[in-house]
Subunit: 476 residues, 4 copies
Amino acid sequence: MTEFDLIIRHGTVATASDTFRSDVGITAGKVVALGASLGSAKETIDASGKLVLPGGIDAHCHLDQPRAQGLASGGAIMADDFESGSLSAVFGGTTTIVPFAVQHRGQSLRAAVEDYHRRAGGKAYIDYGFHLIVSDPTQSVLKDELPSLIAEGHASVKVYMTYEAMKLSDRQILDVLDVNQRAGALTMIHAENYECIAWLTEKLEAEGKTEPRYHEDSRPMAVEREATHRAITLSEVAEANLLIVHVSGRDAMEEIRRARARGVKIFAETCPQYLFLSTRDLALPDFLGAKCMCSPPPRDPANQAHVWQGIEDGLFDIFSSDHAPYRFDEGGKLMYGPKVSFSKVANGIPGLETRSALLFSEGVMTGRLDLNRFVALNSTNAAKLYGLHPQKGTIAVGADADIAIWDPQRKVTISNDMLHHNVDYTPYEGRTLTGWPVTVLSRGQVICHEGELLGKPGQGKFLKRFRAKKGGTAWT
Amino acid sequence: MTEFDLIIRHGTVATASDTFRSDVGITAGKVVALGASLGSAKETIDASGKLVLPGGIDAHCHLDQPRAQGLASGGAIMADDFESGSLSAVFGGTTTIVPFAVQHRGQSLRAAVEDYHRRAGGKAYIDYGFHLIVSDPTQSVLKDELPSLIAEGHASVKVYMTYEAMKLSDRQILDVLDVNQRAGALTMIHAENYECIAWLTEKLEAEGKTEPRYHEDSRPMAVEREATHRAITLSEVAEANLLIVHVSGRDAMEEIRRARARGVKIFAETCPQYLFLSTRDLALPDFLGAKCMCSPPPRDPANQAHVWQGIEDGLFDIFSSDHAPYRFDEGGKLMYGPKVSFSKVANGIPGLETRSALLFSEGVMTGRLDLNRFVALNSTNAAKLYGLHPQKGTIAVGADADIAIWDPQRKVTISNDMLHHNVDYTPYEGRTLTGWPVTVLSRGQVICHEGELLGKPGQGKFLKRFRAKKGGTAWT
Amino acid sequence: MTEFDLIIRHGTVATASDTFRSDVGITAGKVVALGASLGSAKETIDASGKLVLPGGIDAHCHLDQPRAQGLASGGAIMADDFESGSLSAVFGGTTTIVPFAVQHRGQSLRAAVEDYHRRAGGKAYIDYGFHLIVSDPTQSVLKDELPSLIAEGHASVKVYMTYEAMKLSDRQILDVLDVNQRAGALTMIHAENYECIAWLTEKLEAEGKTEPRYHEDSRPMAVEREATHRAITLSEVAEANLLIVHVSGRDAMEEIRRARARGVKIFAETCPQYLFLSTRDLALPDFLGAKCMCSPPPRDPANQAHVWQGIEDGLFDIFSSDHAPYRFDEGGKLMYGPKVSFSKVANGIPGLETRSALLFSEGVMTGRLDLNRFVALNSTNAAKLYGLHPQKGTIAVGADADIAIWDPQRKVTISNDMLHHNVDYTPYEGRTLTGWPVTVLSRGQVICHEGELLGKPGQGKFLKRFRAKKGGTAWT
Amino acid sequence: MTEFDLIIRHGTVATASDTFRSDVGITAGKVVALGASLGSAKETIDASGKLVLPGGIDAHCHLDQPRAQGLASGGAIMADDFESGSLSAVFGGTTTIVPFAVQHRGQSLRAAVEDYHRRAGGKAYIDYGFHLIVSDPTQSVLKDELPSLIAEGHASVKVYMTYEAMKLSDRQILDVLDVNQRAGALTMIHAENYECIAWLTEKLEAEGKTEPRYHEDSRPMAVEREATHRAITLSEVAEANLLIVHVSGRDAMEEIRRARARGVKIFAETCPQYLFLSTRDLALPDFLGAKCMCSPPPRDPANQAHVWQGIEDGLFDIFSSDHAPYRFDEGGKLMYGPKVSFSKVANGIPGLETRSALLFSEGVMTGRLDLNRFVALNSTNAAKLYGLHPQKGTIAVGADADIAIWDPQRKVTISNDMLHHNVDYTPYEGRTLTGWPVTVLSRGQVICHEGELLGKPGQGKFLKRFRAKKGGTAWT
């Protein structure tokens, strides 16, 4: 037996199913052996007392998107590009990211993807793919660009039911669902009813209710519930799978449960902000609530409890950051001014670096979540749903050696100073967590260890992603 | 690196999470290495083109239970003891069984366990544990026997809501739930409302409705729904986890969904008979319907579809046979005579040997179920819930080498002649399946290969089972 | 005590609450006394053995609507104007109708109402009001016309979620709901998702599925469920009451139940076609299914049973005909040709004359419905919801003497020959009913007796309708 | 036309359906005419500015029940007999009461009824019937006594799922349901799970949690939900109608909604204590919480809101007091001592006199409830469900002239001093209401006017009650 490039020794390895003591043998960037006591290697990492987990996959993050009117962002500048964004990911134990290649109206989808390749090229520290965002499903997009881009390795497509510049009509969504399903892509959907939001916003503003806390009143749970139910119905009509992103609370969750109970294959994502932030944060004084504004908004504590429930019981498949990096300044959140109406504040919060540790500390270390379910939410399920498995998302023979070694006892107090994104705040400032990824490997190479950066921009490669054929038998 | 005892080479390994090409290195009965190309071994099995799966765990089967009045069985004789039962299991790809040690009223629970150890001793081909059945929760059982037996490795306890000789009152169930939860055992429950069944049976018989097809009328879905809801409520009141065994259809499933949606930790099992048999089988002429009589009864095709739905969507955690081996003769099913009322027919059907292949053929090979979900249902989840994991239920470093090597293309037509149980029929006679376990290993030893028996009675050992502590972190 | 104009003697009177033997004393067109044995009168009707019921109110019927493109009707000609329509109503025991004054896009709402007054003037045999249909909610409609027309006695406004020429966007619906609620009108909504229907229609037609039976596939229950849920959400957002018209089956009913359970005031209507017709009728050979085409379509028998359930248990408040009088000829149903695609067939069926007797025969005479619930559905509830009570909809002191005297034992076999509409068929041809209204009074005058017409066109008056103020105490 | 005995002039009359200005003509104790201006009468009451409503029917009240062990009451003495109880009813505007004739174990049901006739005889100021309570359904009760007593005019039978001395097994409940349905009686059920309550009580007491506020913890909503679901299932199995008494909150209501949605005819009652009292009252200091102890207990404010919702939306058919008159002294509530455990406090609160005015003031006068729905809840529905209609429960020709004339503007501040029961407290002390019944008539005779008693004990007569035959047509 030949020498391994690297052995991670003496750690406790966990997958989405199992937890076991094992060395991990790595050669040519891949896991090639697991064993109680593997042979020799050029390099060795001692993981005694540590957890050896698949690197995180953050499959919902926004990086370096071009400015545009009519978005949540109102045209604000994204503070993170692929370099700072992926750097921040690395330090949070994330080894794969899937940001979005956004088609703007009138633009060719392929042009949007090409633009995005240029933005990512040479910058990323870790591997990445692109979800496609379709905002203009012309005949050429539906018949030509979309099928061919999916065939080239973009196994997921996002559509919006809100935002002036992004939203599709129900019929357009049906068309996209149908094309995706036949071409092998999973459709992701932002489910909020645009017209209700616009109507409520106008009403609230007319009543002088413009502080950040009214953000939640302008897009209440009922409005998300409506869009969720409608999106599910569209997936039933088109007979196509659907993933609801950033589900924020009980009523939307109930729609998903009902759909599954009648046999509809709906997947669901939630985000840290629905576990760790609430309407109380939106109501912080001095406009500070704006720092926690995202859409859907954080809900009340009762809804937080429901989201935890869904994290525990399997309702949610995916746990993502929805990282939307706007600085709290006049180029970002406050581009329309310092104390404008909530409707003029750029929507979104940063979270790439804190996502995994928040869930680990409050989920695994409290006993709410077992370690395998954590791995599934943090990594494996995203790999499976978005066509990255078994290359990514697990520690198994043949998989890429994308690994985060966690010290489960490490205490870390979050401060923006320690984070590596380009945003000037974190909504989790001052929170003390237990457990942190101390060593991170991308394809077998240590890219970060105990706070030291060892990787380089441009190491990350574009990932072609293909979903398993429906009804197929996965191993053939 | 030392030589392995055995290497299974070139197969496709699957766990509840992952599927990958890997050799499996086995030493001293355990999996010690997984790798693309492991070194040398004393023995080698070539698994090219085959699936290397964790051996099945059948956690709901009845073997060699003493005869008793007032049961489903009406005192019929069980045709299978630990020898024939475990033999049948082996040939179906099952490597662990967990039958029941039944306390009869007036009996000490410990005495029941000891009796069961005697019955199992020297007979089993594969490892086994006992679920305890409590039918008489005296103070001594609750305060002494139950906690100490759980502490000795019986991490699961079953109670009945029906059968004259078995049923507990709600208050007794609360007591058992409470003791189990504090002592670390999972409570399993047979949920049907005894008094409704008795009332309906009397009414049907008074109307001359005594053929086997009236079995379903005597215990309709509403009666199972009622008991399921009540059992769940008892688990809420006692703040104790609960597993509902042999769920047969939609209404009971809905109670489980509702409970989970409000945060109650309920686990659920179903069985092949609710996927593959229906009321149509109960209505077979010439009293042949009696061959398919079990409780709860097979339901109508709409309910079958719902059970499939729950198999696919994660509602069900466990898939067991509920093997209850009564021959279709005067010592078994027909002990009260050849054409008696349905209420006098011994309840139960055989299924240890056909369980896994039925699900594989109709689930995996049709594309309904992915292979990992099959592994979870067939093996891993039972190991986790019943305190056998990570020793059993997976192929991972450190686990027992209990492995079934499946030929996914093998066509097998079920006939009772080919089966190894002692029952004189199978309800699945004539059904052709695709996929079969062709080689089976128990702790690293091949016990069956291509229809040839290579193991011996008595090789199987008793398994002490302990559940992970609630709220604990499993790897510590 | 002065002499009455008329006494109906010896009948059994029923209201939505009570059934009692009483004479009914009528003077100046109003009920002025009820009593076991009233005094003398100029005229007397002997109602021995008969039921003296409030005349029916058909609050959903289309008469003499101008032709328009983009409608269900595809521009077909309505066969009934106010004269033939109200005549048909009279012979079916209906004494008040509320058809629609339809605003077409670009038209002033007031102009539409004025046009409708012209169409009705001098023609109706019975009293009538107009629901307003808003298809173009301009600022002038919302701020001026709608509030003033409501203030002038149009207490109900209908909007559509489907039909190219009629459908409003969600935001427009919110605006109309809001104006209506503040001005005192009830909003009615046709709830089907236009875009799903268009998408499915195109798909079905592309597959060559064009026969009438595909009408139901083009607008399946899920599409109605979606729109119903969305409409309810809009009413929650706008904090305005809503009535869902022509609910066709289970899934939409479930949305209504859920809404009520969370405290939303939703009212619901169904129609005879959802009790008495089904997809089997749509599948009649020789294009005859087109005679039963309406939207939403009749559903399968399981849904029929659910609609009956809602009739019995109070889910439905209103029972209307949705009379849409298209002849089965080239000017009506078949205006695009004899065997065109289902999407080219004018949608709608006649039913003004048969509505009450169908419900009486199949509901009251079978024991499913008590007589008081029949009165509520047939008359009283519509009066209450649409601002006609206590003038219409009951037999009480002070109410208009709009009365139908029913012979509960009269056998009538429906044939189109006996009906008084201008349509050339009835979907209920050949059905034998028990119970029929044999004498009908409008404001104290007998307008029809034993098949003989005694009234005259133009007797009917326009009714100003005002709803009780929300939160008010009705008797003050 | 002959002179009336009495005319109530110029009032506003309301029934469960209608509200109208009318005189009410009364002769021989019955309403014989309604009219805008009736003729002459021996006596006249001027009801200008007042509401003329059917007298209240309190169909759930306990009077003069013999002491018994094992009850909620623990053998406490009932402070009210038929004289004081019916007197209290009169002053609250109630003109019919239906208390309970309780069979104790071992007792003949007929003997219980005869005993109850003796207790009522010569005492009641108003008409009364008896619900039968079956606690010992022997064969003789089921086959003989129950059918014959129902045939003699006891159209309702209550059973208990809790209380040691009262509770029936599921099978006994099935038997009683079956007999009742066939004999024409409605079954009423107290739905709480006895064994859960006993288990929780023991646990709470072992933990020293004995104050009145733990009463609610000993019988939480889940325990009521369970019994409600089970009771409904029993009614489905027996195919018999069922009325759930004193429903206290959301979860039980949801079971009722679900049952109705699947077509099961379930009726439901709630009581003032679930609208006006809450767990906060149970937590009053100095053991005062015991004054508000009843079963099921008052719930939290969220549940109060749900009960209001059910009052408004039609979920509840009946609104009763569940008057259980125990004094707050050593013969009543505190018979086991002054500060005993909650489990030793007699369960029940007084409410006959305050029931109607509480609902009127907080329901009708706030605009939550329309006047007709108030009449239905206060009177008509009970008459219909319990076989008293049309004799009682309405103001219609032929009905008994049981009438309460309300001054809707009268302000009354509740104090126990003003009440006429024999209990020494009211839980509503100090509450100011708007609206009060100022004049009350029983069969045409004024028995109370402006606080003055004009009736006499013994005027009230026993009412034979018969339910309409299922499936029958009520007017024949």
